[in-house]
């Protein structure tokens, strides 16, 4: 955790993107129909209305309707459907 904080501070000082030195999840939303999640640690929940993704320091719950897991690799995931919200819970 300390390492994570240090990495964030270093990125800020060097004016680099926050994810440069960190393994934190990066979630990119394209309007309400697509979400790309990077640096994930696997699925924890999967249904048409809710997709739960585990990250390094928490979990992200993508809520919506007709959610589909379009593609998934070891570190990236692509979700499509009618996304109504993303809840992030930091542990």
């Amino acid at each position: 955790m300390e390492q994570e904080k240090f990495a964030n501070k270093l990125a800020q000082k060097l004016e680099l993107p926050a994810e440069s030195f960190s393994s934190a999840m990066k979630i990119t939303l394209v309007s309400n129909f697509r979400a790309e999640i990077e640096n994930h640690h696997g699925l924890i929940e999967f249904s048409d209305e809710l997709i739960g993704v585990k990250g390094h320091d928490g979990i992200a719950m993508v809520r919506g309707q007709k959610l589909e897991l379009e593609a998934m690799s070891d570190s990236r995931m692509l979700i499509s459907g009618q996304i109504s919200g993303v809840d992030i819970e930091v542990m």
Partner: protein, 407 residues
Amino acid sequence: MQRILNKFRGVYKVSVICAQPEEFLNLCARYNIAFWDVRRVNEAQLEMMVLRAGVKLLTRLEKYSGFEMNVIKSTGAAVLAGRLRHRYAFIGGMLFFIAMVWVLSMHVWQIDVYGNENVSDEQILAQLEELGLDLGTFGLSVDSEYLSNRMIMRIPELSWFAVNIKGSRAQVLVRERVAKPEIHDPDEPVMVVAAKSGVIEKIVTLEGTKILDRGNTVLQGDIIVSGIAENISGESRTVHASAIVYARTWYTISARLPGQSMVKEYTGKEKIKTALIIAGKRINFSLNSGIEWPDYDKITLERTIELPMGGILPVTFVTERYLQYEAKTVSITQQQAEELLMPELMQRLEEEIDGGEIADYSYETTVSGGGVTVTLKAECIEQIAQERKFTDSELAAAETETETENE
């Protein structure tokens, strides 16, 4: 693009049953197994699309990873190839078929002749056959130059000859020799005679001595302008007589139609027979090859298998359609006969006068002996002058006369 690629690589729709479907998807991600269209059927079951390579890996993982996988559907070229892998006879047959198509497409199965008008196709093809180019000849063995030299010698009417082999087609191009034109000798002694009988309407003498004049009646062959003329000193000499002579001519042309005629009335019954012609050998697919109807029309349709790049195979599908009809006798009325015959008579007259003018004409119709006769009577004005060489006796007489005058 990805979808097209996947069609080649082989795509499987699989059903997976496991306690934690999420864990199964994490497992796929960890082993880089590409998947898409994931659908959760129930708490413990998933359906998804996976590539052929992914299925292989999952089959290995299935043994110790606590899930059960079933293939629901598989598509793609790789899948098809995998299915056919152990069907040796099928693969052998396919390879044999491809080899046969390839070998056959290298032979000539069609010869088309272009550019001939007076020399018949049959004559050219017969000579080509003797020189070694026939249906079934190996295309690469055809020597166009050799054929060209031989064909021009064998058929003197040809001035140029070439053969192009395009796939299984041999394109024979010919040019015919232009006939030597008839040389008009202006000094040759000739007479101007009447080509047809008639009454002279107009005469313009260009050379020679005018024998007949306007208003005279001439019979076919009568001399109108003589080829013996006198010069200024009164001496006779033979000349090439020339004149333009228009005469009034008369024609009577008749045509007859019987009072009754046979027409076809189709009954609606038809039979279709099919056959296959392979390299000239016919194979009938119809067991009963006879047609029991007394009257029928036969329409034959032939289709040849064509390959890309202009190739053809020596395989022709033949479809023969037989249409039954009944021959019915119908009466022909006088009006119908006139409508049929009058234009035909007029056409014959126009051909006869060859550019002449029709001054007057009338039709007469007579019904006799169960038939209808239509007669066209016409009065025409046409050119009747025709050159004729001196006969031996005329020439001898002319020479004698000239010699006497000289003495």
